[in-house]
Symmetry: C2
């Protein structure tokens, strides 16, 4: 159910924050929540929340607030979390390995189904619930499995080449831990998870000590 109108990117970026928060609120057994209270929890202005949600219809009840479970599910559907997203990991180094094992705990809607590495020493190793496969098998795997998402945790030098190959195989979304800007076609989405970027942004705010600012 793609949406006709163009939703602001900033809205989309916030939806996962709401979603994450609603999960916790649900666990607390709370059934209704106002944009006010939710706002405090996620650190976002209530009117922003209402505007964000309004893009997708009337999700709340006037005079009452939002039903926690209903809203959570609605946002889930909007984000596309009503289906399962298989994804692969390229690069089974230290970071890649950790990501793979870490994933077990959290990913409810995202399932790591394959790990690939160039290094023959790593191939065959068991990492989390997968076994590392040689990159040569990657293309076929992506295509037969209809995989759309890839995590990229290879060294800078290889990242662009790998990204290019991923795209060629049909990958449409890349979460990249590589410390370079990837060049990809317009219909492919890249998110940058290189944490040095965030550290540097932190450094800026700590250096220029105004009373900024707030996360995400």
């Amino acid at each position: 159910m793609p949406f006709r109108i163009k939703i602001p990117r900033s809205t989309i970026d916030r939806l996962p924050l709401y979603y994450r928060c609603l999960n916790i609120i649900e666990e607390h057994g709370i059934e209704e929540i106002s944009s006010q209270v939710l706002g405090v929890r996620v650190g976002i202005d209530p009117s922003v929340i209402r505007k964000d949600l309004a893009w997708f219809g009337e999700l709340g009840k006037r005079g009452v607030g939002y039903n926690v479970i209903y809203l959570k599910n609605a946002i889930g559907r909007i984000l596309g979390l009503d289906k399962d997203w298989p994804f692969i990991l390229v690069g089974a180094g230290k970071l890649g390995t950790a990501l793979a094992e870490h994933n077990q705990k959290y990913g409810r809607h995202f399932h790591l189904v394959g790990i690939f590495d160039r290094d023959p020493d790593k191939v065959g190793r068991r990492v989390g619930e997968c076994q590392v496969s040689p990159v040569e098998d990657m293309a076929a795997f992506i295509q037969t499995g209809d995989i759309k998402i890839a995590m990229l945790a290879v060294p800078a030098e290889e990242a662009q080449k790998v990204a290019h190959e991923l795209v060629k195989c049909g990958i449409k979304g890349i979460l990249s831990y590589a410390p370079i800007t990837l060049s990809v076609p317009e219909d492919v989405v890249v998110y940058n998870a290189d944490y040095n970027l965030d550290l540097q942004r932190l450094a800026y705010y700590l250096t220029n000590t105004s009373q900024f600012s707030w996360g995400e």
Copy 2:
């Protein structure tokens, strides 16, 4: 050298992208670069780059472009990378451990100087170049070392409590891998590195296949 005027957050968010790119360009031995060419490399519109840089003075030469090394250093200074940033890691689980070991390779301006964990089994273990210390030692360590940055890689349940403690000890910037929204005072900056957020945002764009969008 804090800046008087309020620089747009979006500008600050892009500076590390420029910086990262300029490092690579420098390695290629290129000496001058135009906003045009840099724009292609970082995937950002040239006029945005010029506007961003203009906040900090006249960094380029009209008719010529930007001197790569000079610009790199200028951005480095702006971000506060002319000094070293020691930081600590809290949480020596799978992810924390990987981050610690990964850090060796990249961090030029950020140095991991301490790792803390509650679990006695993990305390004493060697991770990267540090040894895991008990959380009880954390407060003293932060204060005597005048540490300002912390990476947070503890389970969701503990994250808020730990964050609170970090702030109390004088931490001003947190890079959080915990899957919750941290509540911190206004003068503390939090960046969210929980990759489930990014995966969900990816899922949105893949579900609502317009010809969006672009990374970072």
